[in-house]
């Protein structure tokens, strides 16, 4: 059976690997190469500048600020999003009181909630950001209007215009728009956990709390870990970039309070005409992303439970 296994695998993988090499690996190599040049992005002429871009990056305040915000996002966003998603998914699937004949079921109306949570996934992140831009509008946006309507006229924050709040506003939007995906993902995971486990726990008189931490979470661990990596990637990449670019002051402000690494790459390359330096920051982002994935994979390693 094992004879020729590798040849078999390689045979199947050759074409996708070649595509992968051309469209993924090669751009990486190119980017790293360009990070040692003074390429403007607007003309084919450039020359090698050695490590100039790198030493400039290490002295660049805005790079460090962007890095700080990106790291904050990568730590906080998965925590909040996955925590909420786990809670919602648990309530939707096994959190309900005993009804009819089912020993284990979700809360009342869980089918509706599932759709409601998932709904933001249907919208592109640009649309979501635009919508929230109106909600955050300090003069007649939804938030401040609500405050006014319930008699809290004294609280009228500037939201995105306030450097202390702006980054958290962005985070809230990202949580809102991504949590539904993980609710569905975890729901699927929970559905594959045998019902007998829950029924047994129920018979033993376990509370919902205990059931969650002793049964659901351990059996769902693989999914949570993948979700963590995926969410981290979103927080470091596209989603964070888009919402900061569309929503915030400047964008990236006020006073650099929301700038993130991918935004800084974009601005340096496409506004300042310094594509060489931008690829250097891109390499920085690459290192951060790899480090994040490696840490999560290592920390999350657990003995696999079989069922």
């Amino acid at each position: 059976m094992q004879h020729g296994k590798y040849r078999f695998i390689v045979g199947f993988l050759a074409a996708p690997l070649a595509l992968y090499a051309v469209f993924v690996i090669w751009p990486f190599v190119q980017s790293i190469y360009y990070s040692f040049t003074d390429w403007t992005g607007l003309s084919p002429e450039f020359k090698m500048v050695g490590f100039d871009n790198y030493s400039r990056m290490l002295k660049d305040d805005i790079f460090w600020k962007s890095l700080q915000h990106s790291v904050l996002l990568v730590l906080l966003l998965p925590l909040v999003t996955l925590g909420l998603a786990l809670f919602f998914a648990f309530m939707l699937n096994v959190g309900g009181r005993r009804r009819k004949n089912a020993a284990v079921s979700g809360v009342r109306g869980s089918a509706f909630y599932k759709i409601a949570y998932f709904f933001p996934q249907v919208l592109s992140i640009v649309i979501v950001s635009l919508l929230f831009q109106f909600a955050f509008n300090p003069s007649d946006g939804m938030l401040n209007s609500t405050f006014k309507a319930i008699g809290l006229e004294s609280i009228q924050p500037d939201w995105l215009g306030d450097p202390k709040l702006a980054l958290y506003c962005v985070m809230a939007v990202l949580v809102w728009s991504t949590v539904g995906f993980f609710v569905v993902l975890f729901s699927a995971g929970m559905a594959s956990i045998p019902r007998d486990f829950y029924e047994a726990a129920l018979l033993d008189g376990a509370s919902r709390f205990t059931t969650f931490f002793r049964i659901t979470l351990p059996l769902l661990w693989d999914t949570v870990q993948s979700g963590w990596v995926y969410m981290g990637i979103l927080a470091l990449g596209v989603e964070a970039f888009t919402s900061v670019q569309v929503m915030t002051v400047g964008p990236g402000g006020p006073d650099y309070s929301t700038t993130v690494l991918p935004l800084y790459v974009y601005q340096t390359a496409f506004r300042d005409g310094q594509a060489g330096y931008a690829t250097t920051i891109g390499v920085g982002l690459l290192i951060v992303t790899m480090a994040f994935a490696a840490i999560v994979m290592r920390l999350g390693r657990r003995e696999r439970l079989e069922f």
């Binding site: 990486f28 980017s31 003069s139 990449g237 002051v249 690459l286 790899m290």
Partner: protein
């Protein structure tokens, strides 16, 4: 094959394989492959079309059978004015194929690879949010010197050169160092303090010509629940539209020139301090509309057209842009900044006006003469009038408003220019140093000050530090006023 779970000594497990490849694949998503998508391509064929023979009707020597490609920014001004001008080109050169008209809003992402590859189009309206950095293009010799166009006879009056038909300052704006003209700015923008005459009438007020009157008017408005000022808090780089001419008026042109030249301590000039303190007072006395720091340009303009605030610093495009929310009886007007006091160096009326909508012909264009000829056609009186009629903006062509019914805003702009006479200032930070102007001076400096989070003194210190850093930065090209 190995089972999915027990794979201790079976080589590569399916799950591991999938997991690892998924992890690798995911990592690549956000990073930098998008940058290399526009990596340097091969330099394309450099075959230019043969130059035609120059004649009276064809002074630039356009090849009469060569194709022409025209990339236009499809933004606030739309593209109809260009289509109309292309028809004229086709009529002038019937043997050439129809002008290839390419409208886009993604100037940079569409054209960057073509510049890199050496196959740019023949004429570009390099405008909008994705404008290519002109300083870099010039520095890397990617643009054609438009001097032949400037010296060509004008379409309307062959005894006049094109350069003599332009509004003051337009040609100079297209220069960077020395004589070559790299950019042809086609629109002409009046920047300043925008307001509604109706709103002022309701308050029994005239436009305040001095700062004391300004403060008094704001106080009066405040009592009626109307704010004095608003501005696009999310893009505070609109503030300079009225602030810079204010500075220039207080301290003279030299102050603005020093700022543009990134001279040491340029921002520490007393005129800058006086102007910033005057604006800060608007915030301190509560004359700035609440919530302004969190608003986009559209949101703040809407508050303004709703009558929640009297004044907004802006440019002449605001008439077109705010049209959907502007009430019929709004009577939109623009005026020069008020005088600070009697010791101001320049008289009331000093205003910022300059070219907008930059057109360039790439150095490696196949049909550069065609590109220039198309611009020459656009600079005729007829095309200019057509532009003004369609998009409610003045063009670079001097005059060309006779016989047109102008809106109150345009008429106010024309009047303001007349009143200013020679006192038109033209700060260059926004086309020379985009990052410094928008992000550092605008958002981090003025934006923070007008939101009340920094004092004028702190702001000046901060901006001076940014300007010094930009002056020292070897990776950007530096320019000086001649």
């Amino acid at each position: 094959m190995a089972s999915t779970s027990a794979h201790k000594n079976e080589g590569l497990g399916r799950r591991d394989l999938i997991k690892r490849s998924a992890a690798l694949g995911l990592i690549t998503v956000p990073t930098m492959s998008f940058l290399s998508a526009c990596a340097s391509g091969d330099s394309g064929s450099d075959e230019k079309v043969k130059k035609g023979t120059a004649s009276k009707t064809n002074p630039l020597g356009v090849n009469e059978t060569a194709p022409l490609e025209f990339v236009i920014f499809d933004g606030g001004f739309g593209q109809q004015y260009a289509i109309d001008a292309e028809k004229k080109y086709n009529a002038a050169f019937p043997k050439a194929p129809k002008v290839k008209h390419v409208p886009t809003q993604k100037i940079q992402s569409q054209l960057q690879p073509r510049f890199n590859g050496g196959t740019p189009p023949d004429l570009i309206d390099n405008s909008g949010a994705e404008q290519m950095d002109m300083g870099v293009l010039v520095g890397k010799n990617q643009l054609l010197d438009l001097t032949p166009l400037m010296n060509a006879p004008s379409i309307d009056d062959p005894s006049k050169k094109v350069r003599d038909t332009l509004r003051p300052g337009v040609l100079e704006m297209g220069q960077f160092d020395g004589d070559p003209v790299w950019i042809m700015y086609y629109a002409y923008t009046v920047y300043g303090v925008w307001y509604s005459q109706t709103a002022l009438d309701n308050l029994d007020a005239q436009y305040p010509e001095t700062w004391d009157q300004m403060l008094a008017l704001c106080e009066k408005a405040k009592k009626k629940g109307i704010a004095g000022w608003t501005y696009p808090g999310k893009y505070p780089y609109y503030l300079p539209f009225s602030l810079y001419p204010f500075i220039g008026k207080i301290g003279g042109r030299e102050v603005l020139d020093k700022i543009d030249n990134l001279e040491p301590n340029a921002w520490k000039d007393p005129a800058v301090k006086a102007a910033l303190e005057a604006y800060y007072e608007l915030y301190r006395k509560g004359y700035v509309l609440k919530g302004t720091p969190g608003m986009t340009h559209i949101q703040s303009q809407t508050e303004w057209t709703k009558g929640k605030a009297l004044f907004i610093p802006n440019g002449s495009w605001v008439e077109n842009e705010a049209a959907p929310t502007t009430p019929k009886d709004f009577k939109m007007m623009v005026a020069a900044p008020s005088s600070l006091d009697a010791s101001d160096k320049l008289p009331f009326g000093t205003i910022w006006a300059s070219g907008g909508e930059p057109f360039v012909v790439p150095a490696k264009a196949k049909n550069p003469e065609g590109g220039m000829e198309q611009l020459r056609i656009m600079l005729s009186e007829e095309s200019s009038k057509n532009f003004t009629k369609q998009v409610k903006s003045l063009s670079a062509y001097n005059g060309g408003t006779d016989g047109l019914t102008l809106s109150t805003a345009m008429q106010a702009g024309v009047d303001a220019l007349k009143k200013a006479g020679d006192n038109v200032v033209n700060p260059r930070l926004q086309d020379w140093y985009v990052k410094l102007q928008k992000e550092q001076i605008g958002v981090s400096g003025l934006g923070e000050m007008m939101a009340g989070r920094a004092t004028p003194a702190e702001t000046i210190k901060k901006i001076q530090a940014y300007a010094d850093a930009a002056a020292k930065d070897q990776s950007i090209k530096h320019y000086k006023h001649q």
